[in-house]
Symmetry: C2
Subunit: 150 residues, 2 copies
DNA sequence: GTCAATGCAAACTATTTGCAAACTG
DNA sequence: CAGTTTGCAAATAGTTTGCATTGAC
């Protein structure tokens, strides 16, 4: 299942590269593979550490490849309220937003539909053409809220 | 009107400082005054430039004072999708979010109520206690969308 | 007089860039 | 072979921090 998805992602990325006159390289394949085998959300430093295998991959390359993956629509940058960027793979996933627990770091997803509708309504009123949006909701998850009360 | 609001803001900040065992200083007064006389949204570098008057105020102090103002609830950090932070003064203003035009940089505000309701509904479903949220909606304003079509 | 605030310079951190060497098609 | 990608080291930029000096109460 995951393996299937990973190879689909690699395939899709390769098509994107070919279409845009970029080369298909082993390094790029490895990065995509690693991303799709990781946790859903990840940070660049983690990804980079995991790529420390036989051959070294430099962080510049990781950043450059992430840019390509974002362009290709396989990966999305998410702001979890920290100084460094987080990413998530969105290949084959429906649109969603996140509740971020600032106590334990847990990220809860929820479908973006209802909020999207509201946002689109507002934009229409202001004659604004949306190209993208991002929402961050910070607070405490059930467990942490309970702990905090004590 | 603006002058009144500025002096109210200074007054409120002074109360906050006193309450938290911080000193009231001329530097802090000057910073608040400048913020409330500026554009609604601003970046640190702009604020800092404007403070280049008789006496120099260091950027560290500007940052430190902004932190205090955020704690005091007079100022809010807003993410306009750039590398550096933006701030806005929220003293006496109702809750709102922003539509950010990525072509001309224009920021359009809209009341946050409808979206807030949606967000709260979602949070309740997931038993999540919200402490804050931020929304950024990027796209093109009416003018720029028209220009882009050409 | 005591503790907080300030300015300065240095540190930090995530990310980006320039360039020579290595690889892809 | 031409053009792209990579790794490395250096640059960048916004923000933070340590510390000696100055200022508030």
């Amino acid at each position: 299942m995951t393996v299937k998805k990973t190879s689909d992602a690699i395939e899709t990325f390769r098509r994107y590269l070919k279409l845009h006159n970029h080369n298909i390289t082993e390094t790029r394949d490895r990065i995509v593979k690693e991303i799709f085998m990781m946790n859903y959300h990840f940070e660049v430093a983690d990804l980079w550490k995991r790529l420390h295998g036989e051959t070294q991959i430099s962080s510049s390359t990781v950043y450059r490849t992430l840019d390509l993956l974002v362009e290709a629509g396989l990966v999305k940058m998410v702001d979890l309220g920290e100084a460094h960027a987080h990413y998530e793979h969105i290949f084959g996933r429906r649109d969603h937003d996140h509740l971020v627990c600032t106590d334990c770091g847990k990220v809860i997803e929820f479908p973006a539909t209802a909020i999207n509708d509201e946002i689109e309504k507002t934009a229409a009123e202001k004659e604004f053409t949306i190209s993208s949006h991002s929402i961050q909701i910070y607070g405490s998850c059930r467990n942490c809220a309970a702990k905090n009360k004590k």
